[in-house]
């Protein structure tokens, strides 16, 4: 009963977003908002020891619905929602077909392995069980089971536990269904961002290539897939932050950035990389005031996550095992000065990308072709590419100083890190292709990618269709 009410409220919330921002953007915003409210809301009901968390979740989502209705619906100033771009209908049908098949594949595989991959039951679903049934917040993040990384942020476990509360049962169907969110939404998002700038076929190809990754088609129930979605969403919403919906898209980017931090510790590294890139871009272009103005809505979107994360890290989370074990074994300096470690990590990264998929090869060749013709037109790609580079550097450094056995650490985690970066990498490669292909230079400004000479394309010229 209560889950029906919750789902109806979430659907209405999404409907309002669809009405205001268009179908795909509205769907993505509505679902993202509901996930964020539910995860944060459940965590705080647990921290505050509130009875009947399901009721509180319904109230929280109901409040969001009321606020959205009050601020977004109607009004003379509201802009009409973008419709389906010309020629995009066939792409959407093909996308729906591909997503449908992917979903069927994931669901049928889940029947054989309902508890998901190793990390799913050893970390994420385990934490969800503690959150839902323990009743003692200290026990949920106890140092006794440091092996399960209780210092990790809890977007995914909170979401799972919240739906267990809402449904009134501890069914494994809940994590299975939540595990479908990341693959389907990621495909939808990467398609949407290119459709929005007039390149729906590119978006479709990107979505299909995204699904060509073997790891993407395994129902792992890992937080890494959600994190990959959050990384992509941050970049995508900043890309779309133009024109009338600029502020809303920047807030959405902030929500995605916050969700990334609330999903895994790597999300904090991502936030730092985004911040460093923004400062660097502002410094190089001497546009600090403009960047500061653009940062305000991003911070507004990320604020609930930032506040929750700060409280979680300062009051509940034990030390991360990477730093807790820093005193063991060789000193950090010894590790940094050991050439063999660089070689081992570099080889592991290379192997991971070489075996990942041949998809990168095609897009890389197109990107190379683009560079030979007009490198300056790729200005919009530099900032997201810099973020991606910083992420790789950050991961490399973590491996360099890890107190764990390096080979074991690489073998058990690198594939997941690459899975996190996979959607963002595809997005950047396809953005290079799109930016190079577009010869028009509309003057709408974009908060961080562009200047007035080299903005991202606003749409393909009609005569090219």
């Amino acid at each position: 009963m209560i889950i029906t009410l919750y789902l109806m409220i979430s659907l209405l919330l999404t409907a309002i977003m669809v009405q205001r921002y268009g179908d795909l953007a509205g769907l993505l915003l509505g679902v993202g908002l509901a996930i964020s409210i539910t995860s944060l809301g459940y965590f705080w009901t647990l921290v505050l020891g509130l009875d009947a968390p399901a009721v509180w979740l319904v109230l929280a989502n109901g409040t969001a619905l009321w606020l959205a209705h009050k601020t977004l619906s109607g009004g003379a100033t509201s802009a009409p929602a973008p419709g389906i771009p010309a020629g995009a209908l066939r792409c959407r049908l093909l996308l729906a077909f591909t997503i449908g098949l992917t979903t069927i594949a994931l669901l049928t595989q889940s029947m054989a392995s309902p508890h998901g991959g190793w990390d799913a039951w050893a970390i994420w679903n385990l934490r969800a069980r503690f959150m839902a049934d323990s009743g003692q917040i200290d026990q949920v993040f106890s140092t006794v089971y440091l092996w399960s990384h209780p210092d990790y942020p809890v977007l995914l476990p909170s979401l799972t536990a919240a739906f267990w509360e809402l449904s009134g049962a501890r069914s494994q169907t809940v994590p299975i269904c939540i595990g479908l969110i990341a693959p389907t939404m990621t495909m939808l998002l990467i398609y949407h961002v290119f459709e929005r700038v007039g390149y729906h076929w590119h978006g479709l190809v990107a979505a299909i290539v995204l699904a060509s990754n073997d790891a993407f088609l395994v129902p792992l129930q890992y937080a890494d897939q959600l994190l990959g979605l959050a990384f992509l969403a941050t970049g995508a919403f900043i890309t779309l932050a133009r024109g009338q919906h600029r502020v809303v898209m920047l807030r959405a980017a902030g929500v995605a950035l916050g969700a990334a931090m609330w999903t895994k510790n790597e999300g904090i590294l991502f936030a730092l990389a985004v911040l460093a890139t923004a400062v660097l871009v502002a410094f190089v272009r001497r546009s600090l005031p403009e960047m500061s103005r653009a940062a305000i809505p991003v911070l507004q979107g990320a604020a609930p996550f930032l506040a929750t994360l700060a409280w979680f890290k300062s009051r509940l989370a034990p030390d991360n095992d990477l730093f807790a074990g820093a005193g063991q074994g060789p000193s950090m300096l010894d590790k940094i000065l050991t050439p063999e470690r660089y070689e081992l990590i570099g080889t592991a990264f290379t192997n991971q990308y070489v075996t990942l998929t041949p998809a990168l090869m095609a897009l890389s060749i197109f990107a190379l072709a683009a560079l030979t013709i007009s490198p300056r037109r790729l200005t919009p790609v530099l900032a997201p590419a810099l973020v991606l580079l910083m992420m790789h550097t950050g991961y490399f450094l973590v491996y360099l100083i890890t107190p764990n056995d390096l080979e074991w650490h690489l073998a058990t985690s690198l594939d997941r890190l690459v899975l996190q970066l996979w959607p963002g990498l595809l997005f950047i490669l396809m953005l290079i292709v799109v930016c190079s292909a577009d010869r028009r230079h509309p003057v709408e400004s974009n908060p961080w990618f562009d200047d007035h000479k080299y903005p991202i394309p606003a749409g393909k010229p009609q005569n090219e269709h």
């Binding site: 392995s113 299909i208 074991w408």
Partner: protein
């Protein structure tokens, strides 16, 4: 344990094996050191579902379980079902439509003929591979449709330990008296008994450096003291009551694990 060279057991990817059946072997390193010898492959196991491996079978290694290791049989399915063909045709159609509609950049926009030609070839390969990957996944999933899905080990353990969870309700911690309990068994035990916290009395076997599995302040040489519930990992269950006077066996948890609770408790 006798290590078995991986080469002896390599399955030819060209055969598109969908399952393997092995005898006397345990998987040891498919998922790194954490997987120390517990995954029993004595039943049909889809290749791609072995501890998250992809179908390339990279890193698949086994060790002997004291018996002569050999592959009993390998299920080979070289035929694709209709959804697979639909997907591959869709991929081909998409390449064709992309050519017509300009889904990928063309020479007019770039001007570099050689690179663009290479890009076209690579893109065609990419999209074909994408759809074959999807098709194979559908195919693998499709083989399970219409047949009862075999319950996986973790689901079985989770179901069988329902009674133990009920018995432990209200307790916050359970001591774990282990004698070299494999790490996967320990992790599965924690998962299936959650939200009760398992406190290991001894370090867990095979734990990689850096993972503090046993809290130092509870590692004890003597009797467990005030604990009112203890999990024992023992090859000989009959000796458990003698090892822990004052406790009785509440449930056989499977996998050589026994849950003992104090006689004075409920």
């Amino acid at each position: 344990m006798v290590p078995v060279p991986f080469a002896q057991l390599r399955l030819d990817p060209a055969d598109r094996m969908t399952g393997i059946k092995l005898h006397g072997l345990r998987l040891i390193s498919a998922y790194g050191a954490l997987n120390q010898g517990i995954t029993d492959l004595s039943t049909w196991t889809p290749v791609h579902q072995i501890s998250g491996l992809t179908r390339s079978e990279s890193g698949l290694e086994f060790r002997s379980d004291g018996q002569d290791p050999h592959i009993i049989s390998a299920r080979n399915d070289n035929t694709r079902s209709w959804p697979a063909y639909v997907l591959i045709m869709l991929g081909a159609a998409l390449v064709a439509m992309g050519f017509v509609r300009g889904a990928v950049p063309d020479r007019a926009r770039y001007g570099n003929e050689l690179l663009i030609a290479c890009g076209w070839v690579a893109m065609a390969v990419t999209i074909s591979v994408s759809f074959v990957t999807l098709a194979d996944t559908i195919q693998l999933a499709g083989t399970a449709i219409g047949r009862p899905v075999a319950e996986d080990e973790l689901s079985r353990l989770d179901r069988e330990r329902t009674y133990a969870r009920q018995q432990l309700r209200g307790r916050s911690e359970v001591l774990l008296a282990s004698r070299n309990i494999p790490v996967q068994t320990f992790f599965q035990l924690q998962y299936t008994l959650s939200p009760v916290l398992l406190v290991p009395l001894r370090p867990i076997d095979g734990v990689p450096q850096g993972l503090p599995l046993a809290a130092p302040d509870v590692v004890s040489e003597g009797p467990p003291g005030p604990a009112d519930a203890i999990c024992l990992w023992s090859e000989n269950q009959s000796e458990c009551p003698e090892m822990l006077p004052g406790y009785h066996m509440t449930q056989d948890l499977g996998g050589q694990l026994v849950l003992m609770t104090r006689d004075t408790q409920r």
